[in-house]
């Protein structure tokens, strides 16, 4: 399975990428929503995108909306991974088309649980 990790912090991209690689994902990353759209437009469409909210150039919510506007990317599952934890913000993200929401700080187990809920945890990891 493939994952695209979108966060303006290189350190956070490393942390999320490391967790997903440990689950068997092939991972690419992007520093903001615009870069992530470039990856998708190359034809590299992942099974999962983890998306920070507050980023320069194109934020996470704009990215989610852009993905939802393109039927070719409908199969991609989008999980917000963000320090935005207000209920209204979570509702906004889900209404825009995100499937799941993880609040920073998180643990690898929290990511694993969300992936299991989404059916995106490889079977050998889930066992």
């Amino acid at each position: 399975m493939r994952a695209l990790v979108i966060d303006d912090s290189r350190a956070m991209r490393r942390i999320v990428s490391s967790i997903l690689t440990g689950f068997g994902y092939e991972v690419r990353d992007a520093g903001h929503g615009g870069e992530a759209l470039d990856v998708l437009n190359e034809g590299w469409v992942p099974d999962l995108a983890t998306i920070d909210w507050n980023m320069p150039v194109m934020d996470g919510l704009q990215f989610v909306s852009a993905v939802r506007a393109n039927p070719a990317w409908r199969s991609m599952t989008m999980m917000m991974v963000t320090s935005e934890s207000e209920h209204t913000q979570i509702v906004r993200a889900l209404a825009a088309g995100a499937h799941e929401y993880v609040i920073k700080p998180f643990t690898a187990d929290a990511i694993r649980d969300k992936l299991a809920l989404l059916g995106l945890l490889p079977q050998e990891v889930a066992l």
Binding site: S85, E86, T88, P105
Partner: protein
């Protein structure tokens, strides 16, 4: 002054206390720096050469969540976050990125505790914003690997003038 005064705005001690800030910071540490990394709530003396990372919170309470430590400790923190992907020689942008992300995560959790809707800025790294109102500061001091770090939740606005009692 309290929020019950006409025209008053809350100060941070009415909204969050030191143990909560410590708990928030510890949770961020475990997630970002490492599960075995311990914060000891003991004050230490900051050296002259310090660097801060912070995020601004704008809402019913407006201010900044600021982490301050020595430049060397900020570099050690950055290495801890980057782990095996840390370069042999850290660039300034590596420290700005990693130290800033810690402020972002701690600030986001502080914002979640505050009442009402607030907006969070992108993180900044450099010289901390000045304290405008000493009564609007919640500060904790910790040691990480024996090195002092100060976490300060500090208001951005000066103190209001005393409330007039004259009719």
């Amino acid at each position: 002054m309290t929020t019950t005064d006409i025209g008053a705005r809350p100060v941070i001690d009415e909204l969050i206390d030191g143990p909560t800030v410590l708990s928030i910071t510890e949770e961020a540490w475990i997630s970002l720096v490492g599960e075995d990394e311990v914060l000891v709530p003991i004050p230490g003396e900051l050296p002259a050469d310090v660097v801060s990372s912070w995020v601004d919170v704008v809402g019913p309470w407006t201010g900044s969540v600021v982490l301050t430590t020595s430049r060397r400790t900020a570099e050690d923190l950055s290495r801890a976050l980057l782990r095996e992907s840390a370069p042999e020689v850290l660039e300034e942008e590596d420290v700005v990125d990693a130290f800033g992300e810690i402020a972002n995560v701690v600030g986001g959790s502080v914002k979640a505790v505050l009442p009402g809707h607030s907006a969070l800025s992108l993180p900044s790294v450099g010289t901390a914003p000045e304290i405008r109102n000493p009564a609007d500061v919640c500060r904790i001091d910790v040691l990480w690997r024996g090195e002092p770090i100060v976490i300060s939740v500090q208001g951005a606005l000066p103190a209001l003038p005393p409330h007039s009692t004259t009719p």
